[in-house]
Symmetry: C2
Subunit: 181 residues, 2 copies
């Protein structure tokens, strides 16, 4: 299966962006391909379209499945698995953020908690202890907020984002009296 020019560039760019955010390039490209595709694709088709090894596709799809970014479907009269992804960018975003929260933020929080309870803490200066505490506080607040946001439907989430300006004016108004330049 051949890619049209824009599709190809979209997929390449997506792979590049993935790489910058710590996602394997092949994984990101395959996901982009599934996102653009009008129908579910078999692993073979993916390998051929992106010119990567069949085994690479297999591993990458496994990764996407583990993130719940891809799911398996079947076609009448075809024994092969076919793969598809959500066509809703907002939903995809939610899944990715949720995944990184669980896999990266949560462990960091655990480590910080451990530090702050450690007996070794008395070897640190008060400033260091304060900054580690401040870091934990930051991650806790951010995590709680993300958790709340992720519970929303994509549509609601979009409204919240669009309301951003109003909300921050409101908050500023209630906490500072002077007009900000």
């Amino acid at each position: 299966m051949n890619l049209t020019p824009i599709s190809e560039r979209f997929i390449l760019h997506w792979g590049e962006m993935g790489a910058r955010w710590g996602v394997n390039r092949s994984v990101a490209q395959i996901h982009a391909l599934l996102f653009l595709s009008d129908r579910p694709l078999a692993a073979d088709e993916i390998a051929e379209t992106l010119s990567v090894a069949r085994s690479n596709v297999s591993m990458s799809l496994k990764e996407l499945l583990s993130w719940r970014l891809a799911k398996i479907t079947h076609q009448m009269g075809d024994r092969r698995d076919h793969f598809e992804t959500s066509k809703d960018v907002w939903e995809l975003f939610k899944i990715i953020v949720e995944g990184r929260k669980q896999r990266e933020v949560a462990p960091t929080l655990a480590v910080l908690n451990e530090f702050l309870e450690s007996t070794d803490l008395d070897q640190e200066t008060p400033g260091v202890v304060a900054r580690i505490g401040q870091t934990r506080e930051f991650i806790q607040v951010l995590t709680a907020w993300i958790t709340e946001m992720l519970r929303q439907e994509p549509e609601t989430l979009m409204k919240i984002l669009k309301m951003g300006a109003k909300v921050s004016n409101l908050v500023r108004g209630t906490t500072e009296e002077k007009a900000q330049q």
Copy 2:
């Protein structure tokens, strides 16, 4: 200069996290060290403390300076540059998000705009065009929201995050009448 146990583990963990988010490990470690340090550090001290090459420290500091995550200060009677970073996690977070917005999100938006204006677009199926458009819309809304959030003081930002739950209830209330389980 020797690291105390917790400081060392904090720095190692931070380097690890940086690596997962597309930041060079040395850069992240140096930043963590500056964050924890009670005083500005000279490049030599950093190299010795983290056991990395002096040249590596030089390059990494340059990177941190370009991100505005470090700045140069001077000590009376010492010709060497000393480096420090903000001790405010919220401010650091803002700087990082702003940087990635400019360096990664903005170019992506430019590419998507280019795609949607390209004459090659007629070779794509309607579904593909729709999804590229939806992607652009998503990035635009998210970017606008981030821009708005970044204009806030850390303190205000924190209040907004803590209000997260209320805000989403409010929005949900105004858009859907039925109570959500």
